[in-house]
Structure formats: C-alpha cells, structure tokens
C-alpha cells in the first residue's frame, strides 16, 4: 500500500480539524480571520502541487487500486483547491450574515467538503465513489442550511437532504446491481471484465445498475431530469455555499462521470451517444429557458448552472479525448467566472434582504470595479470573446462537430445547433443583469461599497483567470489534453 499518495487529502482533513479546534480558543469576533490562515495553508498546498512536489503530483495507485493519482486527478485537485480558496475568501466576507461566531465551523465544513472532492478526483472504485460523494453531500446538507436563522436556508437544506438521499439510494442500488452481475467494483478491473464477458455488458440488469449510478451523478451535476433541486437550493443557501455547490460539487460529479463512463464502462458508453446528446440538449434548453423570467440573481445563476451542466455534457457526449479535454477547459474557466459573479453578489447584497436583480441598480457608481467584474462574468458566461467562456464553448463545439464528422451521427449537429440556440437565449437574461447594473433607475442608497483588500485580491484573481484562460489557451490546453489522455489508459 502506498499511503503517501493521500498526503494531500490527509493534510486537508487535518487542517479542517485544526480550524475546528481553533474555534475554541479564538474569540468570536476574530474568528473570520481563521479563514485567512486556512487560505494560506491551502495556498501552500496549491503551490506544492503546482511545483510538482505534492502527493497529488506523484502518480500511482493505492488501497488496492481504489485510489488513483494521475493527470486527471491532478487537474481536478488543483481546480478544487483553487475553488476552495476563493470560497474561503467569500466566506470571510459573508461571515457577518452567519450566526455569531459560527464562521470557523463553516470554514472547516468547506475543508471537509474539499476533502471529499479530492477523494472523488482520485476514485477508481465504486466504493470510493460512493464514500466520497457522501462525504461531499452530507457536508453540503449542513453548509446549505447554515444560516440557521433564515427560513429559506433551512428549507433549501431540507430539500437538498431529501432529494440527495433519494438519489443516493438509487446510486447505491445501482452499485449493488453492478456488483451482483459482475463481481467487480474497481473501474479498471470492471472494464477488463466487460471486455471478456460481452454478454454481461449487454445484460439489462447490468445496464440498469450503470444507469442508476448515472442518476446519482446526474443529481450532483444537476442534469436533466435530475435538476429540479438546483434553483431552490442555490437560492436558499448562503452565497459561498452556492458558489462551492456550483463549482466544487458539480466538478466532482463530472470527474466521477468521466471515470465511470470512460474508465469503468467504456464499451457501454460507446452505445449511449444518443442518450448523452438528448440529455445534454434538454439540459441546455431547460436551464436557459427557465432562467428568462427569473428576478432573483442567485436563482438565475442556479438555472444558468443547469444550462452550463448541459454545455459540459457536450464534452462527454462527444465521446472523444478532445471532448473530454474541452470539458476540463470549460470547467477551469467556469470556476473563475462563477466565483467572480457570486463574489460580487456576496459583496453587494450583504445589506439587502434578498438577492433581487434590482438590487444591482447604480452599482456602476457605487463600485465601478464590482460592476465591471459582474459584467465581465456575465459576458464570459454568455460566451463572448475574448473571455474564458468563449474559448471553452468553442472547444466543446469543435469537439462535437469533429465527432459528427467521424461518426456521421446527425444528432451531434442538432446538439451543436441547440447550443447556439441556448447561447442566444442566455444572452437575453445575462444582458438583463448588465442592464440592471448600468441602465436602471438609481436607488436612493448610492453609498459607495468599500472592499476589504482580501476581497479585492480575490476579485482580481478571478478577473485574471477569466482573461488569461480566454486569451492564452495554450498552456491550459496542454494540461487538459494530458488529463484527458489519462482517462483512456
């Protein structure tokens, strides 16, 4: 056994425990600063992993093949850490809306969820998959309902809990069926088994098992028809939770989806092009259409995150390495964009009772930086060059069209067309937000919004990410190509 491979995960859990303990010794009014210590610690972990020294840069398998470190897990782990750092920044700004002194718990829960995501990135076994998903989900039940004094937050928590439990039960049932029909839980071994026993691979019971696992993962990424929880939970949850849910939880769902579809059951996936196309197309249309009438900004982003799950599914449906690479690229851009948007929402809406779009009025005079940031985030989400969202969408579409050329499956062309239609629809509501910032009637409260320097730092980091990914695609493309190549092995 090679337990040195999981040093990163152990460090993160350890850090979470330390934060919980620190809670005991630090006076309530200074607890938000614990977050900066956590950020610093995560920053150290990120730098070590980027410089190739950390445990996640050490490739190999552990725990009898349950845990794997490869280029794909490395990519996702770095992504998760970046996301967690930005979420911690956001949580520090949000702390005065949480119950007195409870922010340190909030920080440590974020770290536990992060640990779950790190494990998910390395899962190579259905047991591992289930455990890491549950670690993420259960932590999120608490994170969603953390604003205990706010009814909406509690309601969102209950909804997430019950629907999450439902989806988990489907998933665990699916895993049982897979185990029952094949006797394998390890992804790599399962793939070998299916090659040797093609009759099992086409048996209804086995396929049912795989589908039920997909139900569970579909719930995590909020793909149609398992998207129903997303808007309510996104709206009700504390904003940093929403951010982590939109990025971390979704990305974890995607890494597991990639592993299951392309490592564990590639022979089955090859027949499911049409299924994936249909799910992707409906998810895009559903998310974008429902976002149109929304007045609440977080709810709007909830629907938009459904639409983005649909875009990301394009990379899965393409069934090619370039599609997977495009998916990873898109996720990287998505992290910075969504973080930027939700960061602005956190800062602007702190004093407001709800997150109505009308609350943005006059923002361009109250804080030009925040106004510009939200505008850039919206424009990037809509996919306009030269920002991150454009290049990601471009790569996804390119991958889909390439596959269409090779397979002559006209469904792919329909999917590409759906994406274009979806983008056009999305322009409508994204620009509605921009219009609210710059061209709506000014409210009475025109006091300038002051930003703390950590918040400024985080916002500039997000902006840099959005522009960098949009303007200089090559570095990141090399990384995502490598990561996608790890799947095929």
């Amino acid at each position: 056994m090679n337990s040195s491979l999981i040093m990163l995960e152990i460090s993160v859990i350890g850090l979470g425990l330390v934060l919980m303990l620190a809670d005991l010794f630090v006076p309530a009014e200074r607890r938000r600063f614990i977050g900066y210590a956590a950020i610093a610690a995560l920053g150290v972990l990120l730098v070590t992993s980027l410089s190739g020294n950390g445990s996640c840069g050490q490739f190999g398998t552990a725990f009898g093949g349950m845990f794997v470190n490869d280029a794909l897990s490395l990519f996702f782990k770095q992504l998760f850490i970046v996301a967690a750092i930005l979420v911690l920044f956001m949580a520090a700004e949000f702390s005065d809306k949480l119950a007195e002194g409870s922010v340190a718990e909030y920080y440590s829960l974020i770290l536990f969820a992060l640990a779950g995501m790190l494990f998910a990135a390395s899962s190579n076994d259905f047991t591992m998959l289930f455990v890491s998903i549950e670690l993420i989900t259960i932590t999120f039940y608490v994170l969603v309902s953390f604003q205990r004094s706010k009814l909406q937050s509690l309601e969102a928590g209950v909804k997430y809990l019950i629907l999450g439990a439902l989806s988990s039960s489907f998933m665990v049932f699916g895993i049982a069926l897979i185990w029952g029909t094949t006797g394998e839980l390890n992804f790599t071994k399962l793939a070998d088994f299916l090659v040797k026993n093609p009759d099992v691979a086409s048996s209804q019971i086995f396929l049912l098992g795989v589908l039920l696992v997909l139900v569970g993962l579909g719930f995590k990424i909020a793909a149609f028809p398992f998207q129903i929880w997303a808007p309510d939970v996104y709206q009700g949850a504390p904003t940093p939770t929403t951010a982590f849910l939109a990025i971390g939880s979704k990305a974890a769902g995607f890494v597991l989806l990639l592993r299951v579809l392309f490592t564990a059951v590639p022979s089955v996936t090859a027949h499911w092009a049409n299924l994936l196309i249909v799910i992707s197309a409906i998810t895009i249309l559903y998310g974008n259409l429902c976002a149109i009438p929304q007045r609440n900004l977080k709810r709007l982003l909830g629907y938009s995150s459904i639409a983005h799950a649909g875009y990301l599914l394009l990379g899965v449906a393409a069934l090619s390495a370039s599609g997977q690479s495009a998916l990873l690229y898109y996720l990287a851009g998505y992290v910075f964009t969504v973080m930027a948007a939700l960061f602005v929402i956190t800062l602007v809406m702190r004093q407001l009772p709800n997150e109505d779009i009308s609350g943005l009025a006059g923002l361009n005079q109250r804080s030009p930086l925040l106004a510009a940031t939200l505008t850039i985030a919206m424009v990037s989400l809509a996919g306009i060059p030269p920002l991150a969202g454009f290049f990601g969408k471009f790569l996804l579409l390119k991958a889909v069209i390439e596959t269409a050329h090779i397979t002559h499956n006209h469904g792919y062309y329909c999917l590409a067309f759906t994406v274009l239609a979806g983008v056009v629809i999305s322009l409508y509501y994204y620009f509605g937000v921009i219009r609210a910032i710059y061209w709506s009637k000014h409210p009475e409260d025109m006091s300038p919004i002051t930003l703390s320097s950590p918040a400024k730092f985080a916002i500039w980091a997000c902006l840099t990410g959005i522009f960098w990914i949009g303007l200089f695609p090559n570095t990141l493309l090399n990384i995502t190509d490598l990561a996608a190549a790890a799947l095929g092995k």
């Binding site: 909804k159 489907f170 049912l208 028809p225 299924l275 429902c290 090559n474």
Partner: protein
Amino acid sequence: MKNELFPWLILFLPLLSATVIALFTLRSKTVSSLISIGAVAAGFVLTCLFVNANGIHYSGETSVNWLTIGGLNVDFGLKLDALSMMMLFVVTGVGGLIHIYSYSYMDEDAGKARFFAFLSLFTFSMLGIVLANNFLMTFIFWELVGVSSYLLIGFWFEKPSAGDAAKKAFITNRLGDFGFLAGILMVWGLLGSLNFSALQNAMVSNPAALGASATIAGLLIFCGAAGKSAQFPLHVWLPDAMEGPTPVSALIHAATMVAAGVYMLCRTLFLYNADALHVIAYIGGFTALLAALMAVQQNDIKRIIAYSTLSQLGYMVMAVGLSGPTPAMFHLTMHAFFKALLFLSAGSVIIGMHHEQDIWHMGGLKKKMPVTFWTFTIGALALSGIPPFAGFYSKDSILAQCLEQKNYLLFAVAVFVAGLTAFYTFRLFFVVFFGKEKTDHAKHAHESPLIITAPLVILAIFATIGGFIGITNNYGSQFVADHETLSLAQQFLEPLKTPVPMFIGIGVALAGIFLAFALYKIGDKDPLPAKLGGLATAMKNKFYFDELYEATFIRAHDFLAAVADWIDRWILEGAIIGAIRGGTDLSGRALRLAQTGNLQTYAFLFVLGVALLLYFVLGK
C-alpha cells in the same frame, strides 16, 4: 538576436501606459501625460539600444506560439529587419516629439489624461503593425489603429463635426479593411500560411503559387492600404479627420497611421504581380494629382496640409506600384519629418491665433512668431522639394523611379504635382506669414512656449538633413540584395546621377514658388477664383466627391438601410423574432410552473425522470 526582450518592451510599454492611465491616473493630467511620454520615450531609447546591439541590417524574428487550432497555427511574433527598425525610429521618434508637444498643446483641455491614454493606445497599435510578423497580427493591430484613431479624431466629441469625422474615418477604413481581410483569407487559403517569411519563401520558390487569383488577391490586400493611406476612392476621410486636435493630425496624418498602408505594401511586396502593381501605381498617381488640385483652393491651414498629405501618400503608393519600395519608404520617412513639422508649426500658429484656422484671417505672422516662421519655412521648402532639404532627395528618387520604369505618363503627373505642391504650400506660406495682419487675433498673436517650439526645431533639423544621413541606405539593404552603401558625400550628390528628373523637379518647384509669390505676395484675397472660374470652385469643393458619394453611395445605402430596417422591424422582429421570443418566453414561464417549491412534487418528478431514463435506454 541580442536584447531579444527589447522589441517586446517597445511594443507593450505604450499599452501598459494606456492601461495604467485608464485605470488609475485618469484624475491627474500631469502624471498621465508623463507616463505616456515616458512610455514612448523609453521605446525610442530601447530602439536605439536594440539597433546599436544588432545593427540596422539585422534580420530576424522572435515569437511565441499564440494558438493552434487544427491546421491554423498563429504566432504572436515580432519581425525585426531594416524596414521595421527604421519604422520603429519614425514611430517612437517623431511620435515621441508629438507626445511632448501635446503636453503643452493640450494643457488647458479637461480631457488631457484621456487624450494621453488614447495616444498611448494608438502608439501601441501602430507599433504592432510595424512589428507584426504575420497577416493576422497585422490585421488585429490594423483594426486597433482604426479604433484608436476613431477615439483621437473624435476626441472633442461634444463637437458634432468631430463625431462625424471620426465616424467617417472609421467607416471608410472599414470598407478598405473588408477587402484586406478577404485578401488575407485568400492568401491563407492559397498558400496555407500567414507568416510573412513563410509566404515570401513560398512565393520565391514558386512565383505562380497564387495562380490566376494573384491579381485579385493583391488588389484586395491593397484595399486595406488604400483605406489607411487614404488613396482614391477612399481618400475622403483624411481631410475631415482634421477635426481632431492638431497633435493628432500630426501623429495620425503625417507620421504613423497613413504610413501604415504604404509600410504594409512594402512589407508584402512579394505578393503582388505586375498587373496588381500597375493598378496600384495609377491609383497612387491619380490620388497625388487629385489631392494637389484640391489643396490649391482650400482656406483652412490644417486642411491645406492634409491635402498635401494625401498628395504625398499618392506619391508613395505610386512608387510602390512602380516597384520602388526604397523610394517609397524613403519618402515616407522624410514625409514623417517635414509633415509632422508642418502640422506642429500650424498648431503653433493656431495657438498663437487663439484657435483661428482660416488663413485669410491671419497674415504678417513672420515677426510675431519668429521660431514658428522659420521652422515652417523649412518644412515648406522640404515639402516643395527644394535642395538640400529632405523632401528634395526622396521626391527626386521617386521621379527617377518613374523614368527608370519608362512610365512617362506617371512621370508627367509627378512633375506637375510637384509644381502644384510648391505652389499651394507657398500660397499658404505667403498668406499666413507675410502681408498685413487681417484680424485682431493676428495683430495680437504671440510666439508659443519652448515645449512647443523645441520639438519644432528638432524636426526642422531632420527635415533639413534627413535626405543624406543614410536613411536610404538602410532601406536599400532591405529590398535590393547587392545594395551598395553610399557615403555622406555620395548621398549628398546622389540626385546628380539622374540629372533629368532632378533639374525638371527643381525647375517646377521654383516655378510653383514664383507663381505663388506673384499671386499672393501682398494679396488680401484670393485672385484665383476670378481667373479660373468654375475650376476653382470645383477645387474648393474637392471636386464634389463628398457630394458625389452622398448622392450615390450614401443615398443607395440609406435606401437599402431603410428597406432593411423595414424588413427587420416588421418581418424579422415583428413576426419571426416576436414569435420565437414570445414562444421562448412562454415556454420559460411554463417550465417554471414545474418548480412549485413543493418537496413531494420534486421527489415525484425526480422519480419520473429516473423512469423516463430507464425507459429510454432499456425499454426499447
């Protein structure tokens, strides 16, 4: 390549300056202008150091891979050779002097910081064109020049005429750029690369590589040059662009933007076949003639100089078309010196006259503004082509090129235009600086401060000696393989090698000056309209090109626009979009109904989804 970093710094410092000013220092005029001046001055120093380290005859590229999509591989690269390095000197040197001049000229303007941000952006864009090593980069910076010139020309946007002029410049340029882009795509389609060196190799190894479409491709690319360098029939934007502040006129219309077209033609000279060059030469010659005629009857000091710019650009384009890139670039550089000098001197006059620009309201400024008078005199002599001033050498080399190519028609045109040039330049000169003061402003005119006159003096020095300090040697090495380097004395006497064009050139210039002297020495008003009648009116009204375009293209365009507007409003937006939008909106609202907020419903829908999924996959 030694000091490989320097060209990158030269290119990006102005962008940095523009960004810093726009984001941080917009409130401080002084800091902003110093940042901007510092950026371009540093660019000039770095250019000197770079050329000093590598030598002017160095040739090489430095590039980073920008993006690779399928077969298209785009570098972000800088090409450094004699051509681009000389242009670096012109852009950062002459441009730098104009920056310094602007410091004082724009002092009282509330938007001074904004002005310097625009100037820096413009400098960045122009340097990008100069340094680009491939067509895509050229095009991107080409458009950036278009945008930044739009901002600069329309700087006083509260004046409707400035806004209109900015729009006119931008749209006219866009027309040319459309052809340019089509040409670039054509070249890429036929040769499979956008890199200049790769294209040149492809053309050298197989001169017929462009096949039957060589002429079309060449002329399409020339469209871009015709837009930026204001060649007929896209020349209409340049005179109107005088609405911008005078330093802008000097920068855009003398030293940089209009030079971009000629520079690009020289950069890509290997692409054009004989037919394309023929068309280019005649368009250049025609523009030179047309603009010179128009200049004769203008009364606005800046507009006269603007028309002379048009006319000189015609010379350069004609020289390129006659396979003479060296004379073209030589004249371009000389023109940058003396035309910037003339514009800035005119600016000095305009300040002295309290923003009066009509020459018939001036007069007798010789004594009031002695420095400006002398620098203007030098500029006027250089423009007219009087030895030993800069313009004489370069114009003579173009005349010689006409004869060498045995194109006697264009030679005649060039000679006639040379005479006209001397005539209208000295018409301006006599009316503004001699005779009686015609208004109170002229009586109270005063000399400008040192920060304005110092750039004038520096430019005047170069307008005097520029013709024989080795500039033509540097360009020669770029275009002619066995170019021999001439010593200072040889260069000084170079025109004597071809005495025919030299004597004819000097002769017509002197005749032009004499005619101007005779007509305008004391004149309070213009005697020409009486003598020329209808012709003078036509010249004054720029041969009615604006009206012609107004009556044809703009009318037709307005009509098409009205039709398109009707279709857009009623059919597209009313019927089609209305239906789609309504449908989309409605479906959005309908789907929202599913989102009841009721947990039981959610769980039911969830399980329904599972059932649907299972049926879809397993049920068939």
